[in-house]
């Protein structure tokens, strides 16, 4: 049902209120990226029925190729001026817009899904059911790619669900694993509650404004009748709660560590990047595009949320004991909560300043996506020889695999924002500058303290990589051949990180231009 909804929902919605000519022209090129992902998802699901067990590996390559094709479909859109599913009566109100913001997030989401696919190729050969896994991953990616383009609340909620529902299944996909099932249930229950709250909020907003299109809501909210003022305010607040949950902002973060640890590692990587992108994209769309006139409500709320999230996440990460089982993923999970806090800062700043601050969030998210997926890729590699995946298992990685260890050190220092992770440093600078520009000095100081806390655990991990391995010196550890797709994922992210460090403009240009 999910994949079909992707394309069907906007059509139905946009067509309904049209007067006169009821037939819309659909710009297929504009909607190609999510559509390709959805179509390939269905194709993989069907093909799974007919392929013999021995040839299931083809599914992995088909899915990867599909995601690559979806990424390529972004190229013709790079002018960022397309939109479709517009109201026939009012061409200004469209349900699907492929502007620069959309393209940047779609690049992030589809690229993230592609790297996740690379990480999963070997897992689907053994422990995960191939057909279901690829179908779910691609459906979720399709939803996540649709979300930044949606410009009405209904499409937004549908996209959010298309992105989330397969994710629950992905988390619980490891058959017979109790932790996996528990993680999925935790994720599912809390997420469904959040969605229900969002829907309630959306209905309040619809009731008080009479429209679902974000731009029209922005106009209508300015002159909401007095008796509906409270309703509108409540609607705004409730809508935000749902998206805050997806971003894993504190206090809605409690599901993150258990879910990440219980999920298959590539899925945890996917959630930490794409899942997070889904949340903050929705948040950006509703706050900046739909509710600008309520900036005095959501601005302070988001600022407090950002400060709380980064502090909770970083303190949580700080408390991880390196010898505990799965401490590596647990630390990455907590640190991703901390990073979500930084992502929220520019959105909060957008409430206080007329300058466009959202670009800082986009730039930071792109940097974070690259290096966090890289860190997860290395974790996936290490997990092959050390299934417990403790941080202590990374000791002596430099002696065993020097290039991988250097890459991991680079990723961790990028996340910490210190040279040689130049791109991480400048991404943080952009976020800081958004806060300073908006006059949110206190938030900048809180963030500064958090950067120092975060450095402690990132650097502690980095230092472990370069310690001499345990055991007798000179004893060569048994080398396992790294699977090609995982190596490719590490190489891709490392090269991207190094290139971006040399020329940060590729990512930071989003911070300087108006995206909408």
């Amino acid at each position: 049902m999910t994949a079909a909804a992707v394309t069907a929902a906007p059509t139905a919605l946009a067509a309904a209120p049209a007067n006169g000519d009821l037939v819309q022209a659909v710009d297929w090129v504009a909607i190609a990226p999510p559509t390709i992902a959805a179509v390939v998802a269905l194709a993989v699901l069907v093909a799974d029925l007919f392929l013999p067990q021995a040839r299931k590996a083809l599914l992995a390559w088909a899915a990867t190729a599909g995601l690559a094709a979806a990424l390529l479909a972004l190229v013709p859109l790079r002018a960022g001026d397309r939109s479709t599913f517009c109201l026939t009566g009012d061409p200004g109100a469209c349900s699907y817009t492929a502007d620069h913001f959309t393209l940047a997030i779609q690049l992030l989401v589809l690229g993230g899904a592609l790297l996740t696919a690379l990480l999963s190729v070997t897992d689907t050969r053994r422990e995960l059911p191939a057909g279901e896994f690829w179908f779910l991953l691609l459906s979720s990616a399709a939803g996540a790619a649709l979300l930044p383009a949606s410009r009405d609340l209904a499409t937004l909620v549908v996209a959010l669900e298309v992105a989330s529902l397969p994710a629950f299944a992905l988390v619980g996909l490891r058959r017979g694993d109790r932790m996996s099932g528990e993680a999925a249930l935790k994720f599912f229950l809390s997420s469904v509650t959040a969605t229900a709250v969002t829907l309630l909020g959306v209905s309040f907003v619809y009731a008080s404004t009479g429209t679902l299109h974000l731009t029209e809501i922005a106009q209508q909210l300015d002159d909401v009748p007095a008796q509906l003022g409270t309703l509108a305010k409540a609607g705004v607040a409730l809508t935000l709660v749902g998206f805050a949950f997806k971003t894993a902002a504190a206090p809605f973060h409690f599901w993150v560590p258990d879910t990440y640890v219980g999920a298959p590692l590539p899925v945890a990587a996917y959630l930490s990047v794409v899942g997070k992108a889904v949340g903050f994209t929705g948040l950006v769309l509703v706050t900046v595009v739909a509710f600008p006139s309520y900036a005095d409500v959501w601005g302070p709320a988001l600022a407090v949320l950002a400060a709380l999230t980064m502090t909770v996440g970083n303190v949580g990460a700080l408390r991880q004991v390196s010898t505990r089982a799965r401490s590596a993923v647990r630390l990455l999970a907590w640190s991703s909560v901390g990073q979500a806090g930084y992502l929220l800062v520019p959105i909060a700043a957008a409430a206080y300043s007329s300058d466009d601050q959202i670009g800082a969030t986009v730039a930071y998210a792109l940097m974070y996506a690259v290096v966090n997926l890289g860190a997860f890729a290395v974790a996936a590699l290490v997990a092959r020889t050390h299934p417990a995946n403790r941080i202590a298992d990374y000791r002596g990685l430099y002696a065993a695999r020097p290039v991988t260890a250097l890459a991991m050190g680079f990723f961790l220092l990028c996340l910490a924002g210190l040279p040689p992770g130049v791109i991480g440093l400048f991404a943080k600078v952009v976020v800081f500058s958004a806060a300073v520009d908006a006059g949110l000095g206190w938030l900048a100081v809180v963030m500064g303290v958090n950067v120092v806390i975060a450095l402690y655990y990132y650097l502690r991990w980095t230092a472990v990589l370069f310690r001499s391995p345990e055991g007798a010196p000179g004893e060569a550890p048994a080398r396992h051949r790294a699977p090609v797709p995982v190596t490719a994922a590490i190489a891709l992210t490392a090269v991207a990180g190094v290139l971006l460090s040399g020329y940060p403009q590729w990512v930071l240009r989003f911070a300087a231009t108006a995206l909408f």
Partner: protein, 525 residues
């Protein structure tokens, strides 16, 4: 000077900053055939000497080509756009303020690499050691060469990771804790500094130091300048270090390997004071005006505090560590530098810059010497060294003892050696501070600083008394190796320059003075 075309000068400056980075990457790769040397360790240490030597040569040629008649002007400037989105430009250049520090850095790093070649550091593979040393050099040189606020921040941060690993991997006792203290303190400071830099850059609309210095803070309101100076100043003061933000320094110095201590004291501390002169003074003069008396007060407290701490460590029975003692003496010496800067007068700032370079030479030498003593005795504990009467270095290793005594008297500011001029000029500046600053307050500071010089002399003489003198060694004591040839090679340049700067201060002051005048006057001149 010799006439070198501008494009060659540009290349030389870019080369000094970039070559160590390339060298660091190359150090991690296996040595190519023909350069393998006797062993991989020897080859990589030699690689370190080659690269730092090349950088030193480039810095020296740069000095030769530098137009001394126009030392207030930025020379060898490169200005390339790097990140248009943030308005970050790769803007490099040297003037009379940065040139001496640039050469000092290149020289000290080269001497450290040379010293390590003959005496490899105790610890894991020297491969990483050389790579980290080179990254450290690149970061420090970049700090002195860049003219963009965000690039300055980047360079400022670049030294953290290498120094952390140098201490944590090759250090002595208590190295983990010391390394953490070092990096967390400095990072906290530099994040606050970043906020200040962003505040200035965003409000003034540019991150270019030259443009901001020419504006002289005209576009920035006084209250904003005060906040900016406070934020930037905290970051720089942690690095300098200013009392009471100094507590990371003694631990870091005590734990760091010899080479790490030399670079930490000789070069890294200068990044803080350089930032004060290059950024705070010209860009936010009004804010500095408000805060200068407080800065000066902290500075003189640091002078007294440093010398008292040293006196306490030098006492018999205090179990004072010599490295720790010299670290505390750095707190005192950097207090003089800060005092000079806080006067906001050309005299004071020139004195501060002079004291900066002098401290780099003298303290670098002292840390080398103490490292050598520690290697020979296995301890730097003053009580263990001195025994009941004294370590009697004069008798047992006369050259080493002589050099230590030389370093000590240079450090206490004996006229005729480098330590004298900087401190005298700083106090002279404080005697007649800039217009608008409270003269009575600064007179008090001058008097207190004068007392500090007395205390400094006291503890350094106690150290000389206890380490160099003493009863004639008994016949059964093992002989002590005197200064080796490679040690001579590494230390002589420092000693010679100390004498040269002491006898002929005009070499340095002639360079810095025009630049300082220009800096303080801003766009008015």
């Amino acid at each position: 000077m010799i006439d070198i075309s501008e494009s060659v000068m540009q290349f030389l400056l870019a080369f000094t900053v970039a070559a160590p980075l390339v060298g660091a990457a190359a150090a991690l790769l296996p040595a190519p055939p023909g350069l393998r040397g006797k062993s991989p360790d020897q080859a990589v240490l030699r690689h370190g000497v080659t690269v730092t030597g090349a950088v030193l040569a480039a810095a020296l040629v740069l000095t030769l080509g530098f137009d001394h008649g126009r030392s207030s002007m930025m020379q060898a400037t490169t200005d390339v756009s790097w990140i248009p989105a943030l308005d970050v430009r790769i803007h490099l250049g040297v003037d009379g303020i940065s040139l001496p520090l640039l050469v000092l850095t290149a020289l000290l790093t080269f001497l450290c690499a040379l010293y390590s070649y003959f005496k490899p550091p105790a610890g894991p593979s020297p491969k990483a050691f050389v790579a980290l040393l080179l990254v450290l050099e690149s970061g420090t040189l970049a700090t002195f060469a860049v003219l963009d606020l965000l690039l300055f921040f980047l360079a400022f941060e670049m030294v953290l990771i290498p120094m952390y690993f140098l201490i944590a991997r090759w250090g002595g006792e208590g190295r983990q804790g010391a390394a953490w203290k070092f990096i967390l303190f400095t990072l906290l400071g530099s994040v606050v500094m970043l906020l200040g830099l962003l505040l200035v850059g965003l409000k003034a609309g540019t991150f270019d130091m030259l443009a901001l210095a020419t504006d002289n803070g005209r576009d920035l309101s006084t209250s904003l300048q005060v906040i900016a100076v406070l934020a930037i100043g905290v970051g720089l003061a942690v690095k300098t270090p200013m009392w009471p933000l100094h507590s990371w320094l003694p631990d870091a110095h005590t734990a760091a390997p010899t080479v790490g201590s030399v670079l930490l004291a000789g070069v890294l501390l200068k990044m803080g004071t350089y930032g004060f002169v290059r950024i705070v003074l010209p860009i936010a003069p009004e804010g500095m005006h408000v805060l200068a008396p407080y800065l000066a007060a902290f500075a003189v407290v640091g002078i007294i505090y440093g010398s008292l701490a040293c006196l306490a460590l030098a006492r018999a029975g205090a179990k004072g560590d010599l490295k720790r003692l010299i670290a505390y003496s750095s707190v005192g010496h950097m207090g003089f530098v800060l005092l000079g800067i806080a006067t906001m007068t050309p005299t004071g700032v020139n004195g501060a810059l002079f004291a900066n370079v002098a401290h780099g030479l003298i303290t670098g030498l002292l840390f080398f010497l103490v490292g050598a003593i520690k290697d020979r005795h296995g301890t730097a504990d003053l009580d263990a060294l001195a025994g009941t009467t004294g370590a009697a270095l004069y008798g047992r290793a006369p050259r080493l003892g002589g050099l230590l005594a030389f370093g000590a008297v240079a450090s206490l500011g004996l006229p005729g050696l480098a330590g004298f001029w900087g401190e005298m000029l700083a106090m002279f500046g404080a005697f007649q501070p800039a217009e608008g600053l409270s003269r009575p307050a600064f007179l008090t500071y001058t008097a207190v600083a004068g007392l500090g010089t007395l205390l400094t002399a006291a503890y350094l003489l106690v150290v000389v008394r206890r380490v160099c003198m003493g009863a004639a060694p008994a016949a059964d004591q093992p002989p002590l190796a005197d200064v080796q040839a490679y040690e001579f090679a590494a230390w002589t340049p420092l000693a010679v320059l100390t004498v040269l700067a002491g006898l002929w201060p005009a070499v340095l002051l002639g360079l810095t003075d025009p630049a300082v005048q220009q800096l303080l006057a801003g766009g008015k001149s």
